[in-house]
């Protein structure tokens, strides 16, 4: 586990050792490092025991002994799939954004270093089983992203980076208060520890539990942008490079929803029950609100951002439905959303860099000019609207089914989101790909081999797991079950019993 975390970090050192001047070498080296990491994580996944619901690949070392803080890592199914998603996405975005680093304020070397540092942290944050370690990475992760947006983005990048960081910091600091609160209670009851398993056994009076829950939840709700804490996301997405956007929305924001499962529900099950109605309402608002704003977007990256807000609504809906379908569906949704957003952002990025604009109205008729690119965008769009046969369908449907069994009305409202999804995807497809070729677009070039290689695995993954999601769901099921056990809930029984 630690090795997977360390490889990118070593890669960073390697990056600075490389001889100066050779940008290509830097790029190749960085991609090489990320692929090595991918291979390592795949090996780990193969050795993962699906029949066990406890943490695996556990490591634990003392870090700050006076607070009982440990460097403790370990993974369950949810963490495993998220780590795998991360290690898959990093080489892809590096390959896809081959030239993104050249227009930044600093050298490509710094760009690749930042991304590799980010990879280390992303893997670490999912693997952390020590709340303090999690928190540290959770916050520290902001810095590389901040520089990635601010240093290599476009448009109002400095402001966007700032907005992103402030929102995240505010949430993070509230969470810090909650972390401290939890720790103090732990110290009084079981001694100084931050171990998530140990903490889940605390007895907390309900008022305190509610406050602590909120501290964690608000941080995660900002991260996973839940309405009305979302406004940083579109700004960031409009300014970041495609690769950064992919990592930001695809992976980093998942830390929010992951945290809701791992910490909010596991540590504060009663508070989670208390707040469930409110959170479900917010999720529904997110779903519809995100969809409506996506329809009203003129900027293609803004559009993707708002679709994500809508999708995050589904994820939180699934999580707080607290059924096995909801939880597994939501976890699966995190992975699928990672890949489908990756596809969308990458293709949108290519479109934008070719056209020199991110306005949807500037595209038009791309289907005729650049068919491969148009198809890639179309498939990504289909994934965003959860077309059956693509993996996002499975997760979205699981979420809705899982919600329906407990909160039928919420599921019904959520389901209307799929109509809006069709609208925003197809409107964009119609405006950007269909119709007569807009002037200025006649001579755009289609995807080159490198870009095709980058996008192909994403699409392959979307299709494969659409038809055969079992490998992932099998890994997720025990983890979901564990969460439900901890939260003390069971799946509702069919009403018409046999």
């Amino acid at each position: 586990m630690t090795i997977i975390e360390l490889v990118p970090l070593l890669g960073v050192i390697g990056l600075f050792v490389l001889p100066k001047g050779s940008t290509t070498l830097v790029k190749q080296f960085a991609i090489g490092v990320s692929i090595v990491d991918l291979i390592l994580s795949i090996i780990m996944a193969l050795r993962f025991d699906r029949s066990v619901s406890a943490m695996q690949f556990v490591e634990s070392r003392n870090w700050i002994s006076s607070f009982g803080i440990k460097y403790a890592v370990g993974i369950d199914g949810i963490a495993l799939v998220l780590i795998l998603m991360t290690t898959v996405l990093v080489p892809i975005v590096l390959l896809a954004g081959w030239n993104e680093s050249e227009n930044g304020r600093w050298s490509p070397r710094v760009y690749y270093a930042l991304i590799l540092v980010l990879e280390t942290m992303m893997v670490g944050v999912f693997a952390a089983t020590d709340v303090f370690l999690f928190y540290v990475i959770f916050e520290a992760m902001l810095i590389p992203v901040y520089f990635l947006i601010g240093g290599y983005g476009r448009g109002e990048r400095a402001q966007a980076a700032m907005k992103f960081l402030l929102y995240s910091l505010l949430g993070g600091l509230l969470m810090l208060a909650a972390v401290i609160g939890t720790y103090v209670i732990a110290t009084n009851q079981i001694g100084a520890t931050f171990d998530v398993t140990a903490l889940s056994g605390l007895h907390i009076d309900s008022a305190t539990e509610n406050m602590l829950f909120l501290g964690f939840f608000i941080a995660f709700a900002i991260k996973a942008p839940l309405w009305p804490l979302h406004t940083w996301l579109p700004t960031a997405a409009k300014s970041a490079t495609p690769a950064t956007s992919v990592l930001l929305l695809g992976v980093l924001d998942k830390v929010g929803t992951y945290g809701m499962i791992r910490f909010c529900i596991t540590l504060f099950p009663h508070a989670a029950h208390t707040f469930t109605p409110a959170i479900i309402v917010l999720s529904l608002i997110s779903i519809l609100y995100g969809a409506f704003l996506a329809i009203g977007q003129k900027d293609i990256n803004g559009l993707i951002a708002f679709t994500s807000i809508s999708h995050f609504g589904f994820i939180t809906l699934g999580i707080f439905a607290m059924t096995s379908q909801g939880l597994t569906g939501a976890s699966l949704y995190m992975v699928n959303h990672g890949f489908s957003t990756a596809a969308l952002f990458l293709v949108a990025g290519w479109m934008a860099s070719r056209r020199g604009s991110t306005k949807i109205e500037d595209f038009g008729g791309l289907q005729r000019v650049t068919p491969v690119m148009a198809w890639a965008f179309f498939i990504a769009g289909m994934s965003a609207l959860a077309l059956p046969g693509l993996s996002s369908f499975v997760s979205e449907f699981l979420v809705l089914v899982g919600t329906f069994t407990r909160y039928p009305l919420a599921a019904i409202i959520g389901t209307t989101g799929i109509v809006l999804a069709a609208l925003y995807v197809l409107l964009t497809v119609q405006r950007s790909l269909h119709g007569p070729t807009t002037s200025g677009n006649e001579s755009l070039s289609d995807l080159n081999l490198r870009e095709k290689i980058a996008i192909a695995p994403v699409i392959a993954i979307l299709v494969f797991f659409g038809f055969f999601p079992k490998p992932i769901t099998d890994v997720l099921n025990p983890a979901s079950h564990q969460v439900m056990t901890r939260a003390g809930v069971e799946d509702p029984q069919p009403k018409a019993g046999k």
Binding site: I64, F67, Y135, G150, G151, A158, L169, A177, I180, V184
Partner: protein, 504 residues
């Protein structure tokens, strides 16, 4: 038959060594030729501080004793704070040794023929070294003093040299002198409050020792107007030194006007010494009267955090910004006073140490950014520094991130341990306000980062001087400490834990 009082010189040796060094420095000023003074003074100052620190380490095992007829306490907190002050003043001396920062002749009228002549003659101001050592000796005494007279004397010993040092700037001397004047007048004003409060505490308890006051408080449960007046007025003096709202007004002006190395020295060491004394007084003397003073300290802590954080946003001058930031940090530190428990104390000690290093580092960077007329502290002219001098900008960013409390820097661990103590004692409000204010403070730190890195430099922009080896070493030490204590804080946290004890 009268017996001579037991002084225990060995326990006082660290202070005495520094005082001795200071006197030696005065002699050097009087005896030596001008040309060779600077080097000798530097050597004396560094030597003194190192020696003192070494002696402190020798005696640290004998802590938990009182010396000089119970007027000073050599206990864990005292030793820790003294050690921190010594290390930090050593770093500060490294900056001060870069004498380019100080006026050629303090007595010359700014802009006069006399001053020009002094500059041409290559005169260098070296009185600053003995002054520094005097201030350090006061700082060493302040946090370990256990009676009100010693406290008052120590307060003045540390303050008086600082008043002078604030006026020694080589450039913008008018501002510097104005800073000295303001610092002096307000400092004396606050000293008067301190003394008045001390008098009433004496009147209340019939004793001037902290122990005696504590005993009196536990003996009389009733509220006494003398006690209340005593607590309020004494607090004013202390709160003035640590820069808490509403006794903070001097901070930005003095920080801005004073020579930057002195500002760094003040911001780090004075705050630590004052905080050490505050902690001792409130923990040892007023501990039993917490219901009387907690509301006001809570109010002041919150006010300090909020005002410091908010006021910093609109600042255009980097030194003023750091001044308000230091005010906000004072607010955080007051949380430790409220905590009134070992964890709070531990947190405060760790916080003071890390804050000191970060602050000195940040002011060190400021000394490097100059144009033809000297240091440039206008933030608008720092724009795009990241392009010109990535290393300096990066290190400055590191310090800012530490101030902001971003994980993996020492500032984060400090904040964490401090708030943990406060939370443990049930002061949830101060923790919540603290984290919210942290977000506000983060805003202006990050705005500087934006200026440094994400904005293009203007043509009239500034240059970064190549620092002397000593400044370089000082900044490097601060940066390394900031990172190391962020990643592996156990080194210092465990020490802080063992040292987090007071004796009465």
């Amino acid at each position: 038959m009268l017996t001579a009082p037991q002084i225990s010189y060995s326990l006082l040796a660290p202070i005495l060594i520094v005082l001795g060094g200071a006197l030696l420095g005065v002699l050097v000023e009087a005896v030596m030729k001008k040309g060779s003074r600077a080097a000798i003074q530097t050597a004396i100052a560094i030597g003194t501080l190192v020696l003192s620190f070494a002696y402190l380490i020798r005696i640290h095992g004998q802590s938990s004793k009182t010396a000089a007829v119970d007027s000073v306490a050599i206990d864990g907190v005292g030793i820790f704070i003294q050690g921190t002050i010594l290390v930090l003043s050593l770093i500060a001396v490294l900056y001060i040794a870069d004498t380019d920062n100080f006026t050629a002749q303090a007595s010359a009228v700014p802009g006069s023929e006399e001053e020009r002549a002094a500059v041409v003659a290559g005169k260098q101001q070296t009185e600053v070294f003995p002054l520094t050592l005097f201030a350090v000796s006061g700082m060493l005494l302040f946090p370990i003093a256990t009676d009100l007279i010693t406290l008052f004397v120590a307060l003045e010993v540390l303050s008086l040299p600082l008043y002078l040092m604030a006026g020694l700037s080589r450039r913008r001397r008018l501002l510097s002198q104005e800073a000295a004047l303001k610092y002096f007048l307000l400092g004396a004003f606050s000293s008067a409050f301190f003394l008045f409060g001390a008098a009433f505490l004496y009147g209340y308890s019939g004793s001037i020792t902290l122990d005696g006051i504590a005993t009196a408080i536990s003996a009389n449960s009733a509220n006494d107007v003398f006690l209340l007046i005593g607590i309020v007025f004494l607090s004013v003096g202390l709160l003035f030194k640590i820069g808490a709202v509403p006794f903070h007004s001097w901070t930005p002006d003095v920080y801005q006007g004073a020579p930057t190395p002195i500002t760094g020295f003040m911001a780090a060491c004075t705050k630590i010494a004052a905080m050490g004394a505050t902690l001792r007084i409130f923990y040892v003397a007023f501990g039993q009267a917490e219901w009387q003073w907690k509301p006001i300290i809570l109010t002041i802590a919150i006010l300090t955090m909020v005002v410091g954080g908010i006021a910093a946003i609109a600042q255009r001058d980097v030194k003023r910004m750091l001044a308000f930031s230091s005010i906000a940090h004072a607010g955080f530190l007051l949380a430790a006073v409220l905590a009134l428990n070992t964890d709070g104390l531990k947190g405060a000690l760790f916080y003071l140490a890390t804050y000191g290093f970060t602050t000195l580092g940040a002011f060190g960077i400021i000394t490097l950014v100059r144009d033809s007329s000297g240091e440039v502290t206008d933030l608008n002219r720092w724009v795009g520094l990241g392009k010109k001098s990535p290393l300096v900008a990066s290190i400055f960013t590191l310090f800012l991130l530490s101030f902001a409390g971003i994980p993996l820097t020492s500032g984060f661990i400090a904040k964490f341990s401090l708030f943990t103590g406060a939370y443990e004692s049930g002061n949830t409000v101060v923790v919540v306000v603290g984290v919210l204010t942290s977000a506000i403070t983060a805003f202006f730190y990050l705005r500087v980062v934006v200026m440094l890195f994400f904005t293009d430099p203007k043509s009239d922009s500034v240059s970064v001087v190549i620092p002397s080896i000593m400044t370089r070493a000082a900044i490097a030490i601060c940066a390394i400490v900031t990172i190391v204590l962020g990643v592996a804080p156990s080194l210092l946290l465990n020490t802080a834990q063992t040292f987090a004890t007071f004796i009465r």
